[in-house]
């Protein structure tokens, strides 16, 4: 007996967003990355289109980080001392995008200056042709100071500036508008708050095809199911035609997974936890794949091995089974 597979019909579509600009487009990138455009829930190929596959960014810092796992630091070794070298290595490891996270202070403990931030960004841009995401250190006033300088110094590159939050978005959005960049709108795991921030950003006049949203998530075992549900509801709202939720989603499973105890701690843990490095990579991979299934368009990871595994998962999921 033939089985009829029920299909959902959706009216809406996720916006198509292109990151980075080539020389023709006013930037210096050798390639651009396009995400979004879905007309169905993740990987339901028989129901609608998924024109652009999810992409992976590797996260690097402007200097050797103090708070990263030794597993990551040992792996990147002295490449982590120079953002240009690190970016090149990340590209060679297979990243679609590079995320450069600026530090709050330099190695001497002094605040990162706008000049130093611009310098780091320019070095990375020179070292790799991939589109770039630049994240501030995460303190509103410092973010604003550094990101405005970076945005102005890289006008036209269509960088992605992170991050905008409801309490601090106006400065970053304004500089993105003035200098042809994109922004990330981040909200703490709430459908309404995400939508509200998107409206506020749109009200300032930044076209929504230059906005990505980060619904925030937790790592495996640390609230991922809540994040999963919020992403799923955001995507359903988008497909139902709610324009203010039709933005591609970016999530940071690397950041989340590498702060869990399971990834951070290698000694004095039960033997049954197994090999530390494998466990840490598994944690990052499984977190990322779960988010992929809930609608993520861009995944920011930290370990190249995780990248390989998530990449393989994307290949599998993007291959529509022929029998259906």
């Amino acid at each position: 007996m033939p089985v009829e597979i029920p299909k959902d019909k959706w009216n809406g579509q996720v916006r198509v967003v292109t990151l980075g600009a080539t020389a023709d487009q006013g930037g210096t990138r050798t390639s651009t990355v396009t995400v979004g455009g879905e007309t169905t829930m993740p990987f339901m190929h028989f129901e609608g289109e998924i024109p652009h596959r999810p992409v992976i960014a590797l996260e690097i810092k402007d200097r050797r980080p103090d708070d990263w796992s030794s597993l990551l630091l040992d792996l990147w070794s002295d490449k982590a001392d120079d953002p240009a070298v690190w970016a090149k290595a990340a590209e060679e490891a297979g990243a679609d995008l590079i995320q450069l996270s600026l530090s709050l202070t330099n190695a001497d403990g002094n605040p990162t200056t706008p000049e130093a931030a611009v310098d780091a960004v320019k070095k990375v841009l020179a070292a790799t042709g991939l589109p770039l995401l630049v994240f501030g250190p995460g303190q509103a006033d410092v973010d604003n100071e550094l990101l405005v300088a970076v945005a102005e110094a890289t006008k036209g590159e269509r960088l992605v500036l992170g991050i905008c939050e409801d309490k601090n978005y106006r400065t970053i959005v304004a500089t993105a508008m003035a200098n042809d960049h994109l922004v990330i709108a981040r909200c703490p795991m709430d459908v309404n708050l995400s939508k509200q921030l998107n409206i506020l950003i749109s009200d300032m006049g930044l076209p929504l095809d230059r906005v990505l949203m980060d619904p925030t998530t937790g790592a495996l075992g640390y609230g991922i199911e809540y994040g999963f549900s919020v992403m799923e509801r955001l995507r359903m709202a988008a497909l139902q035609g709610d324009a203010m939720t039709q933005l591609p989603m970016i999530v940071t499973p690397g950041f989340e997974a590498w702060k869990t105890k399971e990834s951070k701690v290698g000694v004095d843990v039960p033997e049954s936890w197994g090999d530390w490095e494998q466990r840490a990579i598994n944690w990052e991979t499984i977190t990322a794949v779960a988010l992929l299934e809930s609608g993520a368009d861009i995944l920011v990871l930290r370990h190249p091995e995780s990248l390989k595994r998530v990449r393989a998962a994307i290949e599998d999921l993007m291959t529509a089974p022929e029998t259906v």
Binding site: K167, R170, D190, N192, Q196, D203
Partner: protein
């Protein structure tokens, strides 16, 4: 370009202007200054003029009815001169009156059918007793009872020890003429004997009032009406913040405070407020508090529990059950209200822990239990109670909105009394505000209706973004970084009666947003839970401690009220005290409140996360889903 002559009745000479000139510009050229509080953006309607000859092109008639337009009215800031015209400018007060479509005023009048001899449970009788003699040694009390039986047809009477203690002297001072005051119908025991409240020497004349009070004990505001029970007239209306506020702004924190040895303190504080109001009302009416012989009390369940010194913890804890919903008739001395010690104190019945007597009384006052229309009744107060239904069914819920709309907990909030700014307009270009103050004095602060219009104006003029954040990058000194963060100056110190700038801070705005979001989420979830779509609601009745009115248009613009035709809204004022007043006058209405309370179905909003979701969605200006507010969307487009 063609030139046209514009003649203003109020100007000595006509002016010549080119095609396309705004009427307001022509007026200025003629030396006439028109009132334009909104800065000439067509929002306020204060610059309405009458075109008596010729025609103008009206770009917007947002504020005018079709009859107005037919009568020649045009908004000077939105009308373009395209031919020779004559214009007259109506006096400002006339314009103000015409603009009342967006607000509704409620007056208090005794019910037309009120007849004290039928409806009032308190009765006063003049008696003439036979003096005792050696032949008639009947005791004083029996003598009085006999007189009541023979002269007034009253059977058994209950009497307190206190009254017996003064009985003998009163009878003798009055030379055996006496006036007695009885409560003849006790709601909790209609067949019980009448209760003696007081006995006065001599005969009190018929035209001497018999006094009662109706009291509403709100979480934030306590209101009291002093009423002549014989005519039903309200002789004095007074209100004051509840003295308990300092011990917690909402019912939950009050209950917690009470449970930590604070029960007596809270009781004393609210009694202090009530007794203060009694004193003020009596002073204004020039009467003694002892002459008040009956009071009805409405209030939410927590307030009533705290007033009576009944532990309220069970209200806060699952399964949320109050100690008592139907309180027996009490007397003033045991409650602690300083009126006639024997006066009847009737605490009206509540429905559930979070929907109290203020709502059952409010529903009675609103008349919604008598109409076939599907009615939404909103109490815009601290506890945001909502009732939906008609004569056939009633559902209700409550959500904690906080005291913001009563002006409490705000930097420059105040009650709707003299000196309160009750309406604000902001010039969209200069960001300067113009305002109207209750009593036409220098402003001292902002009351609820002022806060609503202020919030709407700040939003529409772009001082606020849709999340309610004050934009500091506007080019005006009126928006600034203050002690409590970003703030907007409504009135600079020299214009005010308090010697300092009257401002609204971002903290205030957050409080207002939370309050309006809770109320909006409350009634939308309630309507949803019984499957009634918003558009099926035929009338919206609003109760609350605002001044004379609430500006419906502005309340819609901030997303407090649903976006529907203004004629479906009616503002009723403080419905709780009004319901208490009706119950004070008419014992059949008292019985009706009881049946209303029994009929209401209470919906618990905390049962799932639907309410929270709706709340987050409403925590935005006007709402995260703008399609719920088409008129506001249109107003925002006009602005651009």
């Amino acid at each position: 370009m063609a030139e046209h002559t514009v003649k203003f009745d109020q100007a000595s000479k006509p002016v010549k202007v080119p095609t396309g000139t705004l009427l307001s510009e022509a007026a200025e050229q003629a030396g006439i200054s028109l009132t334009q509080p909104c800065g000439g953006q067509g929002r306020c309607g204060r610059c309405a003029v009458i075109v008596t000859e010729g025609t103008v092109r009206r770009r917007s008639t947002l504020r005018l009815s079709s009859e107005d337009v037919e009568a020649g009215y045009a908004l000077a800031c939105q009308s373009v001169v395209e031919g020779d015209i004559c214009v007259t400018i109506p006096p400002q007060d006339k314009i103000e009156r015409r603009l009342t479509s967006d607000r509704t005023v409620a007056q208090v009048k005794p019910p037309a059918s009120y007849d004290a001899s039928v409806h009032q449970s308190i009765r006063r009788y003049r008696l003439s007793l036979n003096p005792p003699t050696m032949d008639d040694q009947t005791d004083d009390w029996s003598r009085l009872q006999a007189a009541l039986r023979n002269q007034s047809n009253i059977g058994a009477v209950q009497v307190s020890l206190k009254l017996l203690q003064k009985l003998g002297q009163v009878l003798r001072v009055g030379d055996w003429d006496a006036t007695v005051i009885l409560d003849s119908i006790l709601w909790d025991c209609p067949d019980c004997p009448a209760r003696l409240i007081d006995i006065l020497p001599g005969h009190v004349a018929d035209d001497v009032p018999l006094w009662g009070t109706a009291i509403d004990i709100g979480t934030t505001t306590v209101s009291l009406w002093l009423v002549d029970l014989l005519t039903g007239e309200v002789k004095s209306q007074v209100a004051e913040y509840n003295g308990q506020i300092a011990r917690g702004e909402d019912v939950i924190s009050r209950i917690i405070y009470a449970s930590k040895d604070g029960k007596d303190t809270l009781r004393e504080l609210v009694l202090e407020t009530v007794n203060g109001l009694v004193e003020t009302a009596c002073r204004r009416a020039q009467i003694l508090p002892e002459s008040i012989v009956k009071t009805t009390v409405a209030g939410n369940s927590t307030m009533i529990h705290l007033l009576l010194g009944i532990p309220a913890e069970s209200i806060r804890l699952s399964p949320f059950v109050p100690v008592v919903n139907h309180i027996p008739a009490l007397i003033a001395s045991e409650v602690g209200i300083l009126i006639n010690p024997e006066a009847t104190v009737d605490c009206l019945p509540g429905i559930a822990s979070y929907v109290g007597a203020d709502i059952s009384a409010g529903v009675l006052a609103s008349g919604m239990s008598d109409t076939d229309k599907i009615t939404l009744f909103l109490d815009v107060g601290t506890n945001g109670e909502t009732v939906l239904g008609s004569s056939e069914w009633l559902v209700t819920c409550a959500c904690s909105a906080g005291p913001a709309f009563e002006g409490a907990g705000m930097e420059h909030g105040m009650r709707a009394t003299q000196g309160a700014i009750e309406e604000v307009w902001i010039n969209g270009k200069t960001f300067e505000s113009s305002y109207r103050v209750i009593g036409n004095v220098k402003p001292r602060g902002l009351c609820g209706s002022g806060l609503i219009t202020l919030l709407a104006e700040m939003f529409l003029t772009g001082i606020l973004d849709k999340s309610g954040k004050i934009k500091l990058d506007l080019n005006t000194p009126l928006v600034r970084e203050g002690y409590h963060g970003p703030e907007y100056v409504i009135a600079p110190a020299e214009e005010t009666g308090v010697g300092q700038d009257i401002v609204i801070t971002n903290v205030d705005i957050d409080n207002l947003l939370r309050a309006k979001a809770a109320i909006y989420a409350g009634f939308t979830v309630l309507a949803d839970s019984v499957g009634v779509p918003m558009e099926a609601i035929e009338q919206v009745l609003i109760g609350g401690s605002f001044g004379k009115y609430i500006n419906v248009e502005k309340a819609v613009q901030i997303g407090l009220l649903p976006d529907m035709n203004w004629d479906r809204f009616q503002f009723l004022g403080n419905t709780s005290v009004k319901g208490a007043y009706l119950a004070l006058l008419d014992h059949t209405l008292r019985t009706k409140i009881k049946s209303i309370a029994a009929k209401m179905t209470y919906i618990e909003l905390s049962a799932d996360n639907t309410f929270f979701d709706a709340f987050m969605s409403a925590l935005f200006l006007p709402h995260t889903d703008i399609t719920c507010f088409p008129s506001v969307e249109a107003a925002m487009l006009t602005k651009d």
